[in-house]
C-alpha cells in the first residue's frame, strides 16, 4: 500500500528547479535521511555554484554558498572546527569535478570526515548547458555543438571510481533518480554515507545521476530514458567502496 511521505521539517519551501530535474529528489532524500538519522538539527551544508546553489533556497539549515568548486575545502574547515556537526558538501559535476577537482580530490585524499554529494547531469546546467568533465562522447552541448570529441577534450571523469580505487576513504557510491526503486536505493547510499560520517569512519561521496531535460533538449521522460539507456553505461550505479566500520 502506498503511503504518503512526510515532508522533512528542514524543507522550507518548494524548489525552483526545472521540471524533470533530479536536484529536487536529491535534496529531498538528503533531508529525509538527516531527519531519520536525527541529524536535521545538527547539519551544516557547503553549497556549490551552479544549479546545486538552489539547495540554499529549499532547506532551512546552516548553509554557506561556497565559491565555485571550493565546497570541499570549506567543508573541511567547518568539520575540523565543529566535528560534532554533520557537514555535507552539495555540488554539481562542473563545480566538483572541473573547477573544483583539486579541492574535491584533496578532501578525499585526506579522508576528511565529510559527506560529498555530487549531482552529475553531464553538463554545466546553470549557465545553459556547456560541456563538463562528465559530458559523454558525442554529446552535444553549447560548447561542443558537434558532439563531444573525447580525443581532444579528455574522456568523462569517474570520480567515485577514482576515489574508491586510489584513496583510503570510508564510502563511495553512485545512484540514480530514474525510478522509485533506484530512488530508494539511492536513499540507502546517502544514509550509508551520512552514517559513515556520524561514526567518524571518514570521507564519503555519493554521485547522483540526474536528468537535465532543459539543457539536453528533451522531455523529462526522454531524459530519464537517456540516463537508463546511455549514461549508466558510462557511469554505472552501485557501491564502489562499502563501509568497513571505523
Amino acid at each position: 500500500m502506498a503511503k504518503a511521505r512526510k515532508i522533512p521539517k528542514i524543507i522550507e519551501k518548494p524548489s525552483s528547479f526545472c521540471p524533470g530535474c533530479g536536484h529536487g529528489i536529491a535534496i529531498r532524500l538528503i533531508a529525509e535521511c538527516l531527519e531519520e538519522l536525527g541529524q536535521d538539527e545538527n547539519i551544516i551544508f557547503g553549497i556549490g555554484v551552479g544549479c546545486s546553489s538552489l539547495l540554499g533556497g529549499v532547506l532551512e539549515t546552516d548553509r554557506l554558498h561556497c565559491l565555485h568548486g571550493r565546497a570541499s575545502a570549506v567543508c573541511t574547515g567547518m568539520k575540523r572546527v565543529s566535528p560534532e556537526n554533520i557537514v555535507i558538501s552539495y555540488q554539481g559535476d562542473g563545480d566538483a569535478y572541473s573547477i573544483g577537482l583539486s579541492e574535491t580530490t584533496n578532501a578525499a585524499y585526506r579522508n576528511e570526515n565529510i559527506t560529498v554529494i555530487t549531482v552529475n547531469n553531464t553538463n554545466f546546467g546553470m549557465t545553459g548547458g556547456q560541456m563538463s568533465s562528465t559530458t559523454l562522447q558525442g554529446q552535444k552541448t553549447t560548447t561542443s555543438p558537434n558532439g563531444r570529441d573525447c580525443s581532444i577534450t579528455g574522456s568523462p571523469i569517474k570520480f567515485p571510481e577514482l576515489v574508491a580505487q586510489q584513496f583510503n576513504v570510508a564510502y563511495v557510491a553512485r545512484g540514480s533518480v530514474t525510478s522509485p526503486a533506484k530512488i530508494n536505493k539511492l536513499k540507502g547510499y546517502i544514509k550509508n554515507a551520512l552514517e559513515a560520517q556520524i561514526n567518524g569512519e571518514g570521507y564519503s561521496v555519493v554521485e547522483i545521476l540526474s536528468p537535465c531535460p532543459t539543457n539536453w533538449g528533451m522531455t523529462p521522460l526522454q531524459a530519464f530514458e537517456k540516463i537508463d539507456n546511455e549514461i549508466v553505461k558510462e557511469f554505472p550505479i552501485g557501491e564502489f567502496k562499502k563501509r568497513e566500520g571505523k
Binding site: I10, E41, N42, I43, I44, G46, S53, L54, G56, G57, E60, T61, D62, R63, L64, H65, C66, L67, R70, A73, V74, C75, T76, G77, M78, K79, R80, V81, S82, E84, N85, I86, S102, E103, N106, Y109
Partner: protein, 352 residues
C-alpha cells in the same frame, strides 16, 4: 624580560594567544615559518592546522572555520595572496570575521623574495572582485606586529570583516626582543554555524544588493571614523612631512630625527592602519607646509596616491606631494636624508 624572537614566529604565537583556532595555508617564502610553527603549536592548544593543497583551498578552509565562528586565519605572500583574493572577498561578503597575514614580497607575477611594500594599493582597495575594503594594519616592529595581530582579530570580530596584517618579508624573517601577550579565553562568535540554524543567514539568491550597499557604506564609515591609527611627530611645525609605514616607516623616523638634529623642520606620519587611512593625522599638519614626502618600498609609488587624496580632502590646498619609491628592501636612513635634500633643492619633482 623580552626575548629575541623571529617575526613570523611571534605573529604565530600571538595569534594562538589571541584565540585563533584554525590555520590553513600553503608554503611560500617569506611567510612559511608561520605555518611551520603552527603545524605543531595549533594541535598543542586543541586547534586546527591544515596544510592545504593550494592557496585557494587554504583560504576556503578559513571560510569554513570562520563560518562556524572560530577565529581563523591564514598567511601567504606575493602570488599566494593573489590566489586568496576570491576567498577574501567571499569572507567580506558573508560578513565572516577572519585575519589574513600578508608577508609582502616584491614583484609582479611570480615576483621575488625581497622584502617590499608593493601590495599597498591592492590591500587597501579590497583586492578581490567587488567594492569592499578590508582593514589593513601595518607593523614597524615585531612587538607592534604582535599587538596588531590581536587588534586584527578584535576588529574583524567587531565589524564582522576581514582584517589584513600587511607585514613585510624582512619583518617576518628578522628577530628582535618582544613580549608576548597573555592568553585570552577562546570563544566562538555568536553568529557562527552550530548546525541548528540558530543564526539565520541570508542565502545568496535572496540578496538585496541595494540594501546591502547602504549597510556596507555604513560599516566602512564606522571603521573610518573609529579605527584610524598612526604615529606622528612634529607636524605642526614642519616644512616637510614624511609619510611612511612598516619598516621603511621605521627607517624614516630615524632619518627625520637626524634631519631635525641637523636643523631641518621635518615631521612624520607613520600610518598603522593603511585602511582606514589616517586622515585625522593630516589635520595637525602646518598649513604652510612646503611638501609631503612618501617613502615606499615599491617601484611606482602607491602610498603617495592616498597622501595626495588626503591633502586635497583635509588640507584643501595645492601642496606638492613627493614620492621616494625605493622598489624593495628597507631604505637606509642616509639614503632618505640624501633624497630629502634633492627634494628641497628641486632635483626631485612632486608627483601630485
Amino acid at each position: 624580560m623580552a626575548e629575541m624572537i623571529k617575526g613570523n614566529h611571534a605573529i604565530s604565537e600571538a595569534a594562538i594567544r589571541y584565540g585563533a583556532r584554525l590555520y590553513a595555508g600553503y608554503p611560500i617564502t617569506p611567510s612559511t615559518e608561520i605555518m611551520e610553527y603552527l603545524s605543531w603549536r595549533m594541535p598543542e592548544v586543541g586547534g586546527t592546522f591544515v596544510q592545504a593543497e593550494s592557496e585557494l583551498a587554504g583560504i576556503n578552509m578559513v571560510i569554513g572555520g570562520a563560518a562556524c565562528g572560530v577565529r581563523s586565519f591564514t598567511a601567504s605572500s606575493g602570488p599566494g595572496i593573489s590566489l586568496k583574493q576570491e576567498g577574501i572577498t567571499q569572507l567580506y561578503d558573508e560578513e565572516l570575521a577572519a585575519v589574513i597575514i600578508n608577508v609582502v614580497r616584491y614583484g609582479n607575477g611570480i615576483g621575488t623574495l625581497y622584502t617590499a611594500q608593493c601590495d599597498y594599493l591592492r590591500e587597501t582597495r579590497g583586492g578581490g572582485n567587488g567594492d569592499y575594503r578590508a582593514i589593513v594594519l601595518c607593523p614597524e616592529s615585531i612587538q607592534e606586529a604582535v599587538e596588531l595581530v590581536g587588534l586584527a582579530f578584535d576588529l574583524a570580530d567587531k565589524y564582522r570583516t576581514v582584517a589584513v596584517l600587511m607585514t613585510e618579508g624582512a619583518l617576518g624573517q628578522m628577530m628582535e626582543p618582544c613580549t608576548l601577550p597573555d592568553f585570552i579565553e577562546t570563544k566562538r562568535a555568536p553568529w557562527g554555524f552550530d548546525g541548528k540554524y540558530s543564526y539565520k543567514k541570508v542565502g545568496i539568491f535572496d540578496r538585496d544588493s541595494m540594501k546591502e550597499a547602504v549597510l556596507m557604506n555604513e560599516k566602512h564609515n564606522a571603521i573610518k571614523a573609529n579605527e584610524q591609527r598612526w604615529e606622528d611627530e612634529n607636524l605642526e611645525d614642519a616644512d616637510y612631512v614624511f609619510v611612511a609605514f612598516g619598516l621603511p616607516g621605521r627607517s624614516t623616523k630615524g632619518a627625520v630625527k637626524k634631519l631635525q638634529e641637523e636643523g631641518n623642520k621635518v615631521g612624520f606620519i607613520r600610518p598603522i592602519t593603511a585602511w582606514p587611512f589616517p586622515e585625522e593625522a593630516f589635520k595637525k599638519i602646518n598649513p604652510n607646509v612646503k611638501g609631503l614626502i612618501t617613502v615606499e618600498a615599491n617601484a611606482t609609488g602607491q602610498l603617495v596616491e592616498d597622501v595626495a587624496l588626503t591633502v586635497k580632502k583635509v588640507l584643501r590646498a595645492d601642496i606638492p606631494v613627493y614620492s621616494l619609491p625605493y622598489v624593495y628592501g628597507i631604505p637606509a636612513m642616509k639614503t632618505i636624508k640624501a633624497d630629502y635634500k634633492k627634494i628641497v633643492d628641486g632635483e626631485i619633482k612632486e608627483v601630485f
